[in-house]
Symmetry: C2
Subunit: 492 residues, 2 copies
């Protein structure tokens, strides 16, 4: 595969200097236009050791308007990064809409290195490659322009670079020799990964890297060209609207999963008191044990208004040591959050190893309120099912326990609770005209919940539908489920 | 000092239940009002082991509207935290304006513990205490309401708690015994720290903690009362305007430090080439050595428009391995940044140990453009000198090398460069009518620079005024200064 860029291409100094003014001017122009069009741009610079990737990154920084470009080198992981799923470190550095991120090293680097040095087997590699594809597809769908450059050197050219650097006294990093010794394996694994991730949306661009001037002009031209193509596309059609809307998984006539929830379930005060104490004590100890075993848990609470999410969460938090959990309430996204993919703000909050995050509403807002109220385009919320499944399976793969609750009550019970809230001084703030308006959309929400459960109740992260008409029953059920899931994940 | 809260206060269950509705209603009310008034609230929960701090934190979460309150426990530091100055971990969790942060553990915890276990000597403790005072004063000046609770238990009550927990099978953390064994020393050090940080702006509130109901009501009432006082104050007077404006350190008639910069300094092309190569190679190696020794450097570039900041930074970045530095350009603050103290966005960007951050403009914007253009109130920019000095001395104390450049050119040279930019296609984007308008304020900026240098050129972080009429001279001067400062900080 790499032969196609082993042609000995070179650019003479005079030619380079002649072309430079035009290239730099155009680069700045497309950068300004991409910013104006609110396109986030990710430029991935990968390739073999010695191919001048660092110098290229510096050059891009030199040519671009520094206000709006950020470079991120992914190589020296912190424990905060290691304690979270592989993609967390990239999510935290994604450029906002209108911004440009140069990724020196990227999601490709470690998977290739780990495969060469046998820290990943071929099945694990396949899995990572699939995740990379999903990541890139998801960001592209969200409007990102992703440019992937592979800087190639023949083994002979690589040796020349290493030799020259030695003469110049350039400080080589300790990995260099190990890379050189495994040139062939790197080529083999890289070729495989490149082939599999060379999608129509995010194609790879191979660059012959032996000649500095040639590689610089080639990359600059590719950026200009890709930007122009993208900007033309954007002005010709609204990208979102052009996509097909997926067919709902269920048809409206079917019985909703919620109808099968037994709302007569209940618990008397006596048993409640006993069971509450039992499971709270249990959860307290399990949380400490999970901390020591470095196991995290993510529990999210969705449900009808007034279904008792908040009070259920409080039964959890009074059980667990305050050092070990965080409650993350649903809130309007900040502008930094709005300037990223909608999952960005949830990735931001993924707990470190050993901690528990409790989400009061969650990323499912996309397929619930945003769907029903029309805040998200149908294409966007239809894509969200898959994106959410991928997200949760990444959490689970990293050893994080994912527990999802839908608190179910019926419309009569909801009305009763609304009225009760209005009569309790410290609960009045919870109830507004908005809440009554939402009741009129009960049927739409029912459909949305039904489809959400159908599409996202996966083996790794199933939904637990909790009968909530009896609050006591619901609270105990939730505590019990948390205990069960957490203890199943712990070493005995 | 603690005797005052050893009175055996208790609240009966009936009394507690009778008062609760009113207390909860008021808490929610003041929370809503503080949010509407855009006041950031920090509630610090400190005190002796076993005093029910965690339970209190859970209770506050239960009573407040969860949307807008966040709890942060500071205890299990990550390497990303350890690699940065002590206060970084608190800065990253500060609540935004209108938000409420409950700090379980805080900047007090570690300094008390470290002093008791002799990891800090008394001089170091004094220094930390002074930094705490500065931090609180700075946040208060910026509008924050800081509530500090000290939960007190007598040694007898502490033993009772420990004993009861044991019977209940409560999992005690490993520190508990160590704390109990050092009860007296903890009391002594805590008393000292409390006394020294018990300021008018941020007073301590002592709470007798033996009785759960008593401590909960006491804290709740204190929050309500402090909030009311603050809200009344805010509506009575505009807080900012009430403060006195400091006297400028220099009088307008004096000779500016900038006049003493020798703008005739220059370098011919031949020497430039030689010296550039020499210092770039040197800096390249020093940056790697600094990485291995885990020494960071923060270099900031201020100067007149067109003084050559960008091109000087590029001479640095082409020298240093792209994995080791980040350029942080001046940009408009995001809304998350605007919702915090103005230094927050700079704290956000402090490099991990071993890395270099290059700031293209910096926190000095407060005392330069914001002062001259009137974007900041005189009180605010007058306070900034001290805040900046504290900030930089914290960086320096943590072993971070701080280098500050002012690139100086004269008005004629600036005009020449503006005109040149207009004629160079890829430089045109840099020049706007705004730049010409700024020239008219040359004298105001000159005064501001003069005062900035006078007030912030400290022993730990002096200003380097770089003659910039000859770009070659300036670039070499900058590289040389960076090499000198970095190498001075490294072990031989």
């Amino acid at each position: 595969m790499f032969e196609i860029v082993e042609t000995g291409s070179k650019v003479r100094k005079s030619e380079y200097q002649q072309q430079l003014p035009e290239i730099r001017t155009q680069l700045l122009q497309v950068q300004a236009e991409l910013r104006a069009a609110n396109v986030p741009v990710i430029i991935i610079v990968s390739g073999v050791e010695g191919a001048g990737k660092g110098a290229l990154v510096s050059r891009l920084n030199e040519w671009m308007d520094t206000r709006g470009i950020e470079t991120h080198a992914f190589w020296n992981e912190s424990d905060e990064e290691r304690e979270r799923p592989y993609f967390w470190r990239f999510w935290r550095q994604l450029p906002p809409r209108g911004g440009m991120g140069v990724f020196f090293g990227s999601w490709y680097t470690r998977i290739i290195v780990d495969r060469v040095f046998d820290r990943l087997d071929s099945r694990q590699l396949e899995n990572r490659v699939r995740q990379v594809e999903e990541m890139e597809r998801m960001l592209s769908d969200d409007g990102a322009l992703i440019l992937k450059f592979w800087m190639h050197l023949t083994v002979a050219d690589q040796q020349k670079v290493f030799h020259k650097d030695k003469l110049d006294g350039v400080h080589a990093n300790s990995m260099r020799k190990r890379f050189a010794d495994h040139y062939d394996e790197f080529q083999r694994v890289s070729a495989q990964v490149i082939r599999q991730t060379d999608s129509g949306q995010c194609p790879w661009r191979m660059v012959e890297a032996a000649d500095r001037r040639y590689r610089e002009l080639t990359v600059a031209r590719a950026i200009i060209e890709a930007a122009r193509t993208r900007l033309n596309l954007q002005s010709a059609t609204v990208v979102q609207a052009a996509r097909a809307v997926a067919t709902p998984i269920s048809d409206a006539g079917r019985i909703s999963v919620l109808e099968r929830v037994d709302l007569t379930s209940n618990l008397d005060a006596e048993s409640y008191k006993k069971k509450l104490k039992k499971y709270q004590t249990r959860l307290h100890d399990l949380a400490w044990e999970a901390f020591h075993q470095k196991r995290s848990m993510v529990a999210l609470f969705e449900g009808w208004d007034a279904a008792g999410k908040g009070s259920a969460i409080r039964r959890v938090t009074t059980a667990v040591d305050a050092r070990l959990y965080r409650v993350i309430p649903f809130a309007a996204p900040t502008d930094e959050e709005k300037a990223h993919h909608y999952l960005w703000r949830f990735w931001r909050q993924i707990p470190r190893a050993g901690y528990i995050s409790l989400y009061d509403r969650s990323w499912y807002g996309r397929v619930l309120v945003e769907r029903v109220e029309g805040f998200a385009h149908p294409t966007a919320w239809n894509q969200a099912y898959q994106e959410i499944n991928d997200f949760e399976s990444q959490l689970q793969e990293h050893g994080i326990v994912v527990v999802k609750f839908w608190l179910h009550i019926d419309a009569d019970e909801q009305l009763r609770r609304f009225q009760e809230r209005e009569q309790t001084p410290w609960k009045q703030y919870k109830i507004t005209a908005e809440d009554y308006r939402n009741r009129e959309k009960w049927r739409d929400y029912d459909l949305a919940v039904n489809e959400m459960v159908a599409r996202t109740s996966t083996g790794v992260a199933p939904w637990t539908l909790v009968p909530g008409n009896c609050k006591k029953y619901a609270r105990v059920e939730i505590l019990k489920t948390l205990c069960k899931n957490l203890s199943a994940a712990l070493e005995p």
